[in-house]
């Protein structure tokens, strides 16, 4: 009986020197991720080259690469790939910086003031779960079809998670840290600037990462507004002609830029907030 019960317990290996015994999910996983990517790519190559899937449903990596070269040199949908990309980058980053300038101070204000919280909490919590496509018509009616409504739509999507992150970041300051600063003659404004804002930085960075991710997901919706250029527009346009190679190429380009920027923020986070998770 007892030996049967024991046989069900997975046999744990002794910890290697310098490692902690039994810590779940311990160790480096990067090489496994690279293998995952290679296997997926290989499977894609195999099923398309072997002709098991029609190119309309899934074009081969080679076809996508050719499309990439064509788009980069001759262009698709009346613009080169670089023109599409720079148009989209301008929109996403314009919205992102606009959100940084507004959402972070407002989030901090919501954290430190009941007036700020009372003012913005219902607005943010109401619109946050709405799909951007639902209020897209209103944005067009109110702001027209120029460049600003596209940026504004992305801005709205980024604003909410960033403000919420900054607000909850305020809570990571301890009351002792605030009391200590008051007992050294600090004023309320100094404490917000020198203590609360700094303590909230780790969560503000998390909010920036989530925010820029949400921004990319809203790009296609934003470029539905009478765009003639942009990665989202390029993909939408290709979909109408069932050009699945252009669709996949566009998806990969968006993915690469989004991932690269996420890596950049993570790098900045390590550089600027070395104390994160250490106290």
């Amino acid at each position: 009986m007892s030996s049967f019960a024991l046989s069900l317990v997975p046999k744990a290996k002794a910890a290697r020197a310098g490692k902690v015994y039994g810590a779940p999910g311990d160790g480096y996983s990067g090489h496994i991720s690279i293998i995952t990517a290679l296997v997926l790519f290989g499977a894609w190559f195999l099923v398309t080259e072997a002709g098991w899937v029609k190119p309309l449903f899934l074009p081969s990596p080679i076809a996508v690469y050719h499309k990439f070269i064509v788009a980069a040199t001759d262009g698709v949908a009346n613009s080169t790939l670089w023109e599409h990309t720079s148009a989209s980058l301008t929109r996403v980053f314009g919205a992102f910086f606009l959100a940084c300038l507004t959402a972070i101070p407002i989030g901090i204000w919501m954290g430190v003031s009941r007036i700020g919280r009372g003012l913005f909490d219902p607005i943010i919590e109401f619109y946050r779960p709405l799909p951007p496509l639902a209020y897209l018509p209103l944005v067009i009616i109110w702001l027209g079809i120029g460049e600003f409504p596209k940026i504004f739509l992305i801005f709205l999507a980024i604003f909410a998670p960033m403000a919420i992150a900054a607000r909850s970041g305020v809570k990571s300051v301890s009351i002792e840290q605030i009391h200590a600063a008051y007992a050294m003659g600090g004023t309320q404004g100094q404490i917000i600037r020198h203590v609360i804002l700094k303590a909230a930085l780790p969560e503000i960075f998390t909010g920036m990462r989530i925010g820029i991710g949400v921004g990319w997901t809203t790009l296609v919706a934003a470029e539905m507004i009478a765009a003639d250029r942009g990665l989202g527009f390029m993909v939408l346009n290709a979909a109408q002609f069932l050009a699945s190679d252009t669709v996949i190429m566009g998806i990969i380009v968006i993915g690469v830029f989004a991932f690269a920027f996420d890596l950049l923020i993570r790098y900045l986070e390590r550089l600027l907030i070395p104390w994160k998770g250490k106290i």
Binding site: S174, E176, M184, A199, I273, W275
Partner: protein, 273 residues
């Protein structure tokens, strides 16, 4: 500033925490009188719930009394200020600043120039034995060193008094002893008013020039003792010999008797509820 000016006076202070309903109000302190003269080291000791932390919060200005008043140098305390430095149970340092920046932080808040900030912080870090750790980050220091930075930081604004809320509660026994000795040397050197809270009888006897024993329900001062073990240590320098001397042990047992009496009363009450 004369000693008279720096006197701290707690005059018939009471504090009641309002409950949700009027019959749930908790009387944390009732009719507390206390005078601390310049250069005195006052230790407050008592069972948990006796109001010692509440008293410290009132002195720091983090709370206001429901009755009575507290004055420092004749001026009524209405909120926290740089004339009263506070050392917390958990260090409460700022992890984005290094040791010297943390120590000089209060001066920065008061717009003191950079050179003077550095000079004063350097002096106070040397006082707590951290002259070689200026550029270390807080999270790379041991708990004992973090508390020493906390003491240096509180001293750098040159307060009239230093308030300490169980600053050694989280430290191991060895570190505790060495910081007790350090604290007495800092006290001797600065000659400021020290107000120190602890629940360790031995620590209280060793550090205090005056010991106030507090009792719960309602929180009040029940016993006051004048002590000189701290001066003896500063003269003779052998802490272990003092802590194992017959008069120290006798005193310790007397006070333990008082505190255990309180503890028993509290547990009886809890059982009846």
């Amino acid at each position: 500033m004369t000693a008279q000016m720096e006197r701290l006076k707690v005059d018939n202070v009471s504090l009641t925490y309002p409950g949700l309903r009027s019959n749930e109000a908790v009387v944390a302190l009732k009719g507390v009188d206390l005078t601390i003269e310049s250069g005195e080291f006052v230790v407050a000791l008592g069972a948990s719930g006796c109001g010692k932390t509440t008293l410290l919060n009132l002195l720091a200005g983090f709370m206001s009394p429901s009755d009575g008043e507290i004055t420092l140098g004749g001026k009524r305390i209405l909120g926290p200020g740089a004339d009263r430095g506070v050392v917390f149970q958990k260090h409460a340092l700022l992890p984005w600043l290094n040791v010297i920046e943390n120590t000089a932080f209060g001066l920065k808040l008061q717009h003191v120039g950079k050179a003077e900030r550095r000079e004063r912080a350097t002096r106070n870090l040397a006082l707590v034995g951290l002259q070689d750790f200026h550029n270390h980050m807080i999270y790379h220091l041991s708990g004992g060193m973090q508390q020493r930075v906390g003491v240096a930081r509180a001293l750098t604004c040159d307060p009239a008094m230093l308030l300490m809320d169980e600053p050694m509660a989280a430290l191991d026994a060895l570190t505790r002893e060495s910081i007790q000795e350090l604290l007495l040397k800092v006290w001797e050197h600065t000659h400021k008013m020290f107000f120190f809270i602890t629940h360790s009888v031995e620590e209280a006897l060793f550090l205090g020039s005056r010991l106030i024993v507090m009792s719960p329900r309602p929180g009040r001062i029940t016993h006051t003792y004048e002590l000189d073990f701290n001066k003896r240590f500063l003269r003779e320098g052998n802490a272990r010999a003092i802590k194992s001397s017959p008069d120290f042990i006798q005193m310790r047992e007397t006070i333990l008797g008082i505190i255990y009496g309180d503890e028993r009363e509290v547990s009886k009450e809890l059982i009846h509820v």
